[in-house]
Point group: C2
Chain length 672, copies 2
């Protein structure tokens, strides 16, 4: 017996089939495997399943599509529109019934597995496939003749409506289940974790499912609140890591524990308290509650990782730098005193080695150097630089002790990147006069109105990227020599070059009535030289181990990487030769890695497998590291041509940017 | 190239094989699949792998066995013996090396999967196979050249030495792992849950692995501390359920919650506090700590189950008596505030229906009526009677509202079973004079010295089993009539029968200077009649539903079942006809079920599957229940012969024990 049917074509998938008249578009789409979202299961209340009807003749599909070939807008759709109007031409696919041939477009916002576009250039999209999903169900009421428990009937409904089987249930949900079912008149929304565990039940339709991606840095803790159903970042916020009161840098925090047994408990409590503050702040911005956060993912260096998890970090303070665990960790939010949803889950990305943490795992996940054949260098500069080198064949990682100079610490005029800090520097090679820009002001220091524009903040110091530029410009202007000494002879040419004890310094900004002069001292140059030599030596070590003489692509992660002008880093020899166009900032790649782990459940297995494949190099026990370090102390010779760089770097014409150092390293690599 | 080898035969398994000279007996046994225990993995320190060498010619095995065919006692064995001497003829199988043919006996104490013999008659042994096992391992020290985490090296050791793979690890273990490894000089004992989860790590060899089986009763909470490696009960203890202050019986506790919203939180806290007291008490008795308890299993009626788990029980207080869940529950001890080992696990047996709880599941697991074809009736009498009827074909269960009379409550002279309570009663049919025994005294009340013997306690009341005997004896003596009235005519014959308002009563013990008389009132008889009618009606309902006219075996569980003299229960018509030899006490079968679930991990799946197969009958909505109830109010007619019973019941000759009631029921069943 033939039933009247019609052709339905779904775009962009191109899937097509004939369906009996009266079938809903949602049913039709799902039977073809078309990716259409729905939380309410086709009841016309969640609005996730919106589609567009295409009108006209589609020769490609062999169909003439007409919006009139769908059932008229139903009462259910009208009720939905009364609260949230549908855009022109949109229908709820669960309500619109097939009455003739149609071409239906499923917009990406209605797809379950949409791609989340990342803001950063060169970045892969994130595949949205969160571990936690919401399901609206109607549960059968209890019956004395079939005295099964409420939980079993809920599970039956989830199996019947959503094909979810073998579910477990958190005890805290069991405790609140009966009241939720009765408050919701036997209609509830269920959050299911990993398709296996019921972790929350709300009366009626509940559509808030938030996740938090957190980067626990030594200085700053940054968090992104994400909508698990759209993948969108709803709000971002950062707070200072309150552990700073126990020590500015990582090693001083470990020392604190060594000197004060039990001190790790205080530090763990401090970071967890800051997390709770952050969760409140970030949810308040979108009018939500911390309890709307159902999952959080974390990255951080090994010591932050251990302290967050309540693991004493002392073993990380000395050789052999043994991690408690190099595995990823999944646990309850309550196990780290994180006051979000009572059953929220935590996923902590794996650490790689004692000096290479879950933050580096996050960078690898965000950048995925393993996907391509070009050799990518990932550098995340902080007190230590985490360095990853690799491609689809191999991946190596190490940590290099750059010291805090790149962050403006241990530099006489250094300061954190904050309004008032000098971040850009130019020095006239003829007059040796500087000009500069400070954070929070768009004018250069020699522009009219600059003094007024910075009247509020003043010019307070030099931040990390400012130091790099100052030194590189000093070098380009000849103030600093190849081996790193400030040329005292120039004091005859310019009052900017001044004696400072047995050495010389360069005055960037003169003293005023309110504050002393900002000066680059010989020791400041040495501190940067030590840092850049350590960084470069780490990179060279990995390159040698991998057997490559050049890298194809450099991505600089972290705050330093975001602000630095890469050509100056190359002038100083911080990073190896690379076509400048292939050197870029990766933004907060560690935090992005946490976000990917949050939004795409499959990415967790990816990073867990990747970190096991990473070859870990411990710089402290590699004699070659010392050799590279010594070699890299000097600033690259400007007269050694490095042709690729020359093409791109728009430095003053007199500067042939290339490096004796790089040439020497290349020769060394050939010998090795 | 032939290697010299020898024949090794293991008894009692009879497994045999040839092994190269120098093989250890443990290796040899394991390669044959012989069940030999070991925690230390063959290091000669745990002593679990002891074996006996049989000497002589074993024609059956075709071998001449000689203790001299094993290597001499080694230094390792001598070191072990210095602390714990080995019994005559025993060797550590990990140290004794094969040097010639031997027959080796593996005593049951050295087997991993031994049988734990239960004290109760007719009870199945418990197959020992706990979910938690201990493993001693040596972990490789960390190495800068291979910077894996301590946890990974621990897991590697567990895989290498014990073939355990894909392990997860509790975060609390990760937190303490590094100190444990270093304190133990890289030798640790690991507790693994379900072969999958590392739940505890101790430095060095640790052999304490305890479990607690708990029966949470409305009145009493009873716990058995078990050694998970031997299956032995090390200590048992009970405490009053402190929830009694919120209500004597279950329904009054539910009422308390209804009247005092939030009252369930107080009751949950009360029962959990009592559990903690119990854990301290029971471990103190064996010189251990609550933290030595690695797992606990729980049974309890639905309301106790819900309150223990922090679930509001109000839904169980009214139709349709919906359980929050009828599934088993596995969770962390910390989730119910149980202060045992930090990572201890809790397993709560499944409830069956709103009135049939995890205690009944425990009874079913302890008794396993599903294993045989004879129809078994299990009765657990409390305020409600839980009734299970079944065999290997079917199983049915219901709960019958017997009221608290059987526990001595709502009986004018009733009291709990405690020293001073009358528990045995005999009445001379000629003189109508009673004699009795009280708990705590072996003499009858008419024995010389009785008064002195009970001087301390006095005779304070009548407990549940005493009431049953008193009424049955009153009936046999003709004081109570068939329909339950006390025959006032007898007041002429005996001063024991006394008027009491418009009815009569029977004086069991006269008033003294210190206390009033103990008298059985007409209302007391009615209360017991109502209770026994409810119990019998429940049983009849299940029998009718199952289509059987008789039961082959009756097991009475719980305190009441342990103390009652079953023939008196039959005289009153509490239980159906059954050969008296097939009626017995099952002891605290619910608690035994908890113990089985603790000791034999496979039993959990068994009971989870069994309870799903149980057909639940709700007496409240069964019209036949009312019919049976009305029919069962009277006391069975003594003149209706029930021949099987006559053979066994050693009642006074004049009593033909059989029941009009039973005959009527049989007739009714034939009609139906």
């Amino acid at each position: 017996m033939a039933v009247a049917d019609a052709l339905v074509v779904f775009t962009p998938s191109g899937r097509r089939g004939r369906f009996p008249l009266g079938s809903s578009l949602l049913q039709a789409g799902r039977s073809l495997g078309v990716d259409i979202d729905s939380v309410c299961g086709g009841r016309g209340i969640c609005g996730r399943c919106q589609v567009l009807v295409a009108e006209g003749e589609f020769a490609k599909h062999g169909v003439v599509s007409d919006a009139g070939n769908l059932s008229p807008v139903s009462a259910v759709e009208e009720a939905y529109c009364a609260t949230q109007p549908l855009a022109e031409g949109r229908r709820l696919s669960c309500c619109a019934l097939v009455q003739g041939d149609v071409v239906i477009d499923v917009p990406s916002s209605s797809q379950v597995h949409k791609q989340v576009v990342r803001k950063e250039a060169e970045a892969h999209d994130i595949h949205l496939d969160p571990l936690i999903r919401l399901y609206f169900v109607e549960v059968q009421e209890p019956d004395m003749h079939d005295p099964s428990g409420d939980l079993r009937r809920l599970e039956d409904a989830l199996e019947f409506e959503w094909s979810l089987t073998d579910l477990s249930c958190d005890i805290l949900v069991v405790q609140q289940l009966q009241i939720a079912l009765r408050t919701g008149a036997w209609k509830v929304t269920v959050a299911v974790h990993a398709g296996k565990q019921i972790m929350a039940v709300w009366p009626g339709l509940h559509e808030k499912a938030f996740g938090l991606a957190v980067d626990v840095g030594s200085t700053t803790i940054a968090a992104h609140l994400c909508d698990l159903s759209s993948g969108n970042v709803l709000a971002s916020a950062g707070v200072m890591n309150p552990q700073i009161r126990f020590g500015e840098d990582l090693m001083s925090r470990v020392s604190y524990v060594m000197m004060n047994p039990g001190g790790e408990v205080e530090m763990t409590a401090a970071v967890r308290e800051a997390l709770n503050t952050l969760a409140v702040e970030v949810t308040q911005r979108v009018g939500a509650q911390p309890t709307d956060i159902l999952e959080a993912t974390f990255v951080g260096n090994p010591i932050m990782h251990h302290l967050l998890l309540g693991i004493n970090p002392v073993e990380l303070g000395g050789a052999p730098f043994a991690l408690a665990t190099d595995r990823s960790i999944t646990l309850w939010a309550s196990e780290i005193d994180f006051a979000v949803h009572r059953n929220a889950r935590i996923y902590v990305l794996p650490c790689i080695a004692g000096h290479v943490g879950a933050d580096t795992a996050g960078v690898i996940l965000a950048e995925r150097p393993d996907l391509d054949s070009p050799v990518t260098l990932l550098v995340d500069v902080g007190t230590n630089a985490e360095i990853v080198l690799g491609n689809n064949q191999r991946m190596l990682a190490c940590s290099s002790p750059t010291g805090p100079a790149f962050e403006g610490a241990q530099i006489s005029c250094g300061q954190r990147a904050a309004p008032g800090a000098i971040e850009r520097v130019r020095i006239d090679p003829a007059t040796l006069e500087p000009r500069y820009k400070v954070i929070g002001c768009d004018l250069w220091s020699d522009d009219p109105g600059f003094a007024a524009a910075v009247a509020n903040t003043g010019v307070t110091g030099v931040c990390g990227s400012g130091i790099i530029e100052a030194l590189a410009e000093m070098y380009l202007a000849g103030i600093i020599r190849h081996e790193g000494t400030i040329d005292g002879n120039l004091s005859a040419r310019s009052p900017r070059v001044q004696p400072d004890g047995r050495t010389f310094c360069y005055e960037l900004a003169p003293a005023t009535a309110e504050k002393p002069a900002l000066r680059i001292l010989q020791n400041d140059v040495r501190a940067i030289q030590l840092g850049k030599a350590a960084l470069y030596a780490g990179v060279r070590l990995l390159m040698e181990r991998m057997g490559v003489e050049k890298v194809d692509r450099i991505r600089l992660a972290g705050a330093f990487g975001s602000h630095i002008d890469v050509k100056y880093a190359m002038v100083l020899g911080m990073i190896p030769d690379c076509i400048l166009g292939n050197v870029s900032s990766a933004g907060n790649a560690a935090g992005t890695g946490a976000r990917i782990a949050l939004l795409d459940k499959g990415s967790r297995k990816v990073i867990e497998d990747l970190v096991r494949r990473v070859e870990k190099i411990e710089t402290a026990v590699e004699p070659r590291f010392q050799e590279f370090f010594v070699e890299a102390m000097a600033i690259p010779n400007l007269n050694d041509p490095f042709e690729r760089l020359q093409d791109v770097v728009k430095l003053p014409e007199r500067v042939a940017v290339a490096t004796e150092q790089n040439a020497r390293s290349r020769r060394g690599a050939r010998r090795a």
